[in-house]
């Protein structure tokens, strides 16, 4: 029983397998709204080539995406739409806040700018910079991979199965 519900050998190995799979294919949802979107484009294109890290397919549909890369300013007018996009993404999902505007509002401390997207959606990795270099974004993607490694995707489900829930 311990093998299935606790941190037993079988479960951990299976979890490692699942995490390995998830880690190697974080499909990004490029949500570029402003200047950072251009750097995001550079990171995706030749030269920096984000596909090296398994982010091969930029998924423009939230339904098939794993990592929401929010690049650029989110205004108050845009905020509900961002929230909706996030809600539409299937679990598991991660969020990268790219750039100063996404992290904290950046230089735009004004009436119309949202002071950081974490007011609307949870954020996993913040990338500072205005805009950050593509290397910064790639590093954030690697951080997301590290984070995936530490997660236990199956624990709750297997325990539920065993207990007949």
């Amino acid at each position: 029983m311990e093998a299935y519900t606790g941190s037993g050998w079988l479960l951990t190995k299976l979890e490692q397998l699942v995490n390995w799979g998830r880690k190697r294919s974080p499909w990004p949802l490029p949500y570029g709204t402003a200047c950072c979107g251009i750097e995001l484009m550079c990171a995706l294109a030749s030269g920096y080539d984000m596909a090296r890290f398994g982010a091969e397919r930029p998924s423009f549909s939230p339904r098939q995406a794993d990592v929401l890369i929010e690049a650029g300013t989110i205004t108050k007018k845009m905020a509900p739409i961002l929230r909706r996009i996030y809600d539409q993404m299937a679990e598991p999902k991660w969020v990268i806040a790219m750039g100063a505007c996404a992290c904290s509002g950046g230089v735009f401390r004004t009436y119309s700018t949202l002071q950081g997207i974490d007011l609307v959606i949870p954020v996993d990795v913040y990338v500072p910079g205005c805009p950050p270099r593509p290397e910064g974004l790639l590093y954030a993607l690697l951080k997301i991979m590290d984070k995936i490694d530490t997660e236990h995707p199956l624990r709750g489900e297997i325990a539920g199965l065993v207990e007949g829930k």
């Binding site: 709204t33 200047c35 484009m41 030269g47 300013t73 205004t75 996009i85 230089v107 004004t110 119309s112």
Partner: protein, 379 residues
Amino acid sequence: MANEYAVNTGHSTGDYVTINIGPSHPAMHGTLRVIAQTDGETVVKADPEIGYLHRGVEKLGEHLTYHQFIPITDRLNYCSAIANNVSYEMAVEKLMGIEVPEKAQLIRVIMTELARIADHQVLVGILGVDLGAFTPFFYLIIQREEIYEIFEWYNGARLTNTFGRIGGVEADLPDDFDARWRELKPNLLKAIDETDKLLTHNRIWMDRTIGVTAFSPEDALAWGFTGPCLRACGVKRDLRKDEPYGLYDRFTFDVPVGKNGDVFDRYMIRMREMEESIKIIDQAYAMYREMAPDAPLMAKVPKTIKPPVGEVYHAIESPNGELGFFIKSDGSEKPYRIKIRPPCYMIYQAFPELVKGEMIADLIACLSSLNIIAGELDR
């Protein structure tokens, strides 16, 4: 029954479908939104909604000093930040009555033209992507990275450069600009040539662009078009020629003009403008090399910019068209009112007129070819 075959047969079914495109849509470049009403696949009415990137730049400008506003201008048209910087600085210089040293002006010309090439490369690349041709984007973006490297090595930033100061530029061109430019120039020409070979005479490309969203010069002028979109309609108007600012009256270059004002002409104008920009950089660099190495880069500018009371408007030919700054000063160290005249704001308001009666797929082609940059559109 007939509805199934209602696609562009010229017969209206009277059964309109409202399609919401954006603001989060791969072809909507971030934050644009168009609510289109279609009859089959034909657009009956398109209503663009903007403001999803309205960051309050003009209001912010009223609370910052003249120097502090320069970095904010970077974030207007972020594809060619340097053109925005130069436009704003020239407006403040006009307000202050400052004469900029010639060497600084030459550096400005070189950098602005590089920014123009970078901007046009994005446009052509993205236009290709939106129409299904991915390869030119990769070809162009490699050269664009090299331009970015020049920017970065000049002042440390790739995209938002905060180039120049009020009264001049902050630094001389580094010593190895010559080597860099000699390496970059043939590569740029090669990339343009490759893109040209891939796209211009491509049957699919021609079908998707020629005659799509054609616009007459009268309409274009009435809607306030400027820049490549106006020149595509056949109006030869370029502020670098018509109201020469800086040193532009000393360079010889052509102003390419289109005929129909369709997507193809807008594309071609940009392709040819890149070549003209390379010519301008060559001439400007030749002039730069004749200058004394210790020639001044900055005019005499007081530490605190406190212009006299007054209102000025100054515009330059940015990659997108006429980019103007209206500054009203009340004599204090902060501008009283800054109004930015972004080129694509005027162009985008004609969008319903442009796409009326076109196919829904052409709506995307038209939008890409106009080069709508949300940052300067919404400010």
